[in-house]
């Protein structure tokens, strides 16, 4: 589904990603772990199409199509979703209106008519129940005054509404207490199928107890320096990242 080959990316002439290779197939869950500043969030942003980053080398193929020249919204229309580490507050736009706009714009891009209001309401009800979101919450301004946990839950609610093919969860566990973590993970697991894939980006292993990865990769200094199964996450949790750094620098 996603095939990244020798990806180099920089921002303001500062090189961040220095040759990433990663292949994610439908039905798989991958985790990318790594110390702060290793390029995890940059990788997520580059795949989602953030324009501030410049891809200097390499390719990103999504379902065999080179997506380098696609705008962020076009990537979203093709089924790429990024759950933000820091969701942006948009005062004056309610969660519901935001979702209506996002869904109908995606449908428009696919040549479909707008979703009838009745269906939209049903979908919103269904997905908000999945994430245990109070209905009142949906009429509030998007992310404005939300707690850390509410913001993250709202991100996964949006994911549930948009049903992406590839969901990238960037530090979704940060700022979550254990109950919220369980709700969020439960939501992600329920949405998982053999046709979609999940890329979890995290610093800690604890989310991976709930969203169990098929593959774990360690990102360090802009490169994937180690890959393995879910046991690699446990090893990192126990031993920290220093041994990885030593291995790489040796």
């Amino acid at each position: 589904m996603l095939k990244i080959e020798n990806l180099h990316a920089s921002i303001d002439d500062k090189s961040i990603l220095k040759g990433i290779n990663l292949e994610i197939k439908a039905g798989e869950v991958h985790a990318i772990m790594g110390p702060n500043g290793s390029g995890k969030s940059t990788l997520a942003s580059v795949v989602a199409g953030k324009e501030e980053y410049e891809v200097t080398k390499g390719t990103i193929l999504f379902n065999d199509e080179d997506i380098e020249d696609l705008a962020a919204e076009e990537r979203a229309h093709k089924g790429i979703f990024l759950s933000f580490q820091y969701p942006v507050e948009i005062p004056g736009v309610s969660v519901t209106n935001f979702m209506k706009t996002a869904i109908n714009e995606t449908r428009k891009a696919k040549g479909l008519d707008e979703m009838p209001a009745k269906d939209m309401l049903k979908l919103i009800r269904e997905k908000s129940e999945l994430l245990e979101i109070d209905r009142k919450f949906l009429s509030r301004s998007l992310n404005e005054g939300f707690s850390g946990g509410e913001k993250k839950r709202n991100e996964i609610f949006q994911m549930a509404m948009l049903e992406p093919k590839l969901a990238i969860l960037d530090e979704t566990d940060s700022g979550l207490d254990i109950d919220a973590l369980r709700i969020v993970a439960n939501g992600v697991n329920k949405l998982k199928s053999k046709d979609n894939a999940v890329l979890v980006i995290t610093h800690y292993q604890r989310l991976l107890d709930y969203i169990v990865p098929d593959f774990v990769h360690v990102l360090y200094d802009g490169r994937i320096v180690k890959s393995g199964g879910k046991e690699l996450a446990h090893e990192l949790e126990e031993k920290g990242y220093d041994w990885i750094k030593e291995e790489v620098n040796a």
Binding site: A72, E73, T101
Partner: protein, 437 residues
């Protein structure tokens, strides 16, 4: 002949046709003298530093439209808030159109200025209120000298006017260029409540210059909500002079929605003559091309324990220019005043300009006054966030602009106006949002 000379000589003709009594005759003569002395304002004057009238004064305006023109309701329906029941006072090229209007004398007067000026039963009212709160500046004076038609509204005490009142001025373009000077007088007595919607609309591309004066008196505990929809075409210019005199415990609000017109200048003055008065001035300006919109506000706090709230949002594209000049005066006696002023602007083009200038003159020592103005661009991180959800750039921008102006909309009390403004904004931004805010 320049416009000033043309106006002065037209006044002589106009005056001879009038059947004024001595009172009105004096008012007019003083006014034309004031205009003659001061002339049209120039950029040398502080209050006009950022707005030049030169380009619009060049036209050869006809001062008195020659023919009476009729229009069909179906042709202009879209300019009314037509999905609600309302009183309507409609003018075509400055002349009253009875077939488009719906006025009343049933327990209140929602009628014509010309009637109020000529009928003896209104004489006292005219003497008590006409030209009593309007300033003697040159443009209001010019209007006073020529005033003959407009809306006259008198709501006696303890009356909730159930339907909003719409005041519409159409120009047909049957003259190549026309100057209009409507004059409105609105008196709302004790405990009464009225909602008014005002709009000026040109129906062709011919030049129009409107120099309008509205005097509003909100007496004790009266509530006045006034909405100005400014979405005229690009050859129409408007100088709107609105003066509000508030008595104690009255609540008055003016919302100004400025989307259209070549040059729009809003002079909006509030005078708080009593305690515990509440004044609200809000505006949304979204313009492009070479449009120019200038909000010049004054809130004069004269007595203690009063509040004022000003919130103006502006979005400026292409070569447009905006001006916000907000003056707050707090007299020495006006202790415990709460005065707030905010002016936030977004420039969406490198060639657009905004000049914003708060002016606070505070002579009391126990007051809360705050003001803030910002000029910025659209938030890039918010743009990426929305686009990553599949909302295209143009729609994302529009959504952010809606969001930006939304808190001005939140105090609009008539849902149909909210819907209409939302629709105009969507149109203006070239998007279909699929929902109402």
């Amino acid at each position: 002949m320049d416009l000033k000379e043309k106006l002065l000589s037209s006044f002589l003709v106009f005056e001879n046709q009038l059947e004024d009594d001595a009172y009105m005759n004096d008012v007019r003569n003083d006014a034309i003298k004031a205009f003659e002395e001061k002339g049209f304002p120039s950029k040398k004057e502080e209050a006009w530093k950022y707005t030049s009238l030169n380009s619009i004064l060049k036209e050869d305006y006809s001062i008195f439209p020659k023919q009476e023109n009729a229009i069909e309701f179906s042709d202009v329906k879209k300019y009314f808030i037509h999905d609600i029941d309302s009183f309507k006072i409609v003018f075509i090229d400055g002349k009253y159109s009875s077939h488009l209007s719906q006025t009343t004398h049933d327990g209140m007067d929602i009628c014509l200025m010309s009637a109020a000026m000529s009928k003896p039963k209104y004489r006292l009212h005219i003497e008590n209120y006409f030209n009593k709160v309007a300033t003697k500046d040159s443009l209001p004076s010019l209007n006073t000298a020529f005033s003959s038609e407009g809306a006259y509204i008198h709501i006696p005490k303890n009356k909730m006017v159930a339907k909003p009142i719409q005041i519409l001025h159409f120009s047909t373009g049957n003259e190549s260029a026309v100057m209009l000077q409507p004059r409105n007088l609105i008196v709302v007595d004790e405990n009464s409540h009225v909602q008014i919607i005002e709009r000026h609309q040109s129906l062709t591309d011919n030049a129009v210059l409107t120099n309008s004066v509205t005097e509003i008196f909100a007496n004790k505990r009266a509530i006045v909500d006034y909405y100005k929809i400014q979405n005229d075409n690009l050859n129409a210019s408007l100088i709107d002079n609105t003066f509000i005199n508030q008595k104690r415990e009255s609540v008055a609000s003016v919302h100004t929605f400025s989307f259209g017109g070549k040059l729009v200048r809003n002079n909006l003055n509030f005078y708080q003559n009593g305690e515990r008065i509440d004044s609200t001035l809000k505006g949304i300006t979204i313009i492009g091309e070479k449009q120019h919109v200038d909000h010049n506000t004054l809130v004069h706090h004269i007595e203690p324990n009063c509040e004022s709230h000003q919130d103006y949002k502006g979005i400026f594209g292409e070569n447009s220019t905006g001006v916000f000049n907000g003056k707050i005066i707090v007299n020495k006696e006006a202790q415990k005043t709460n005065a707030f002023q905010a002016n936030n602007n977004i420039l969406v083009s490198d060639k657009a300009t905004i000049n914003t200038k708060p002016q606070l003159e505070i002579f009391a020592d126990d007051v809360k006054c705050s003001h803030g103005c910002t000029i910025g661009q659209l938030d890039e991180s918010a743009m990426f966030y929305m686009r990553s959800r599949g909302i295209p750039e143009k729609e994302a921008k529009a959504l952010l602009m809606y969001a930006f102006s939304n808190n001005v909309m939140s105090s609009v009390k008539i849902p149909e106006i909210k819907q209409r403004i939302t629709k105009i904004i969507a149109n203006k931004l070239g998007v279909n949002m699929g929902f109402d805010l």
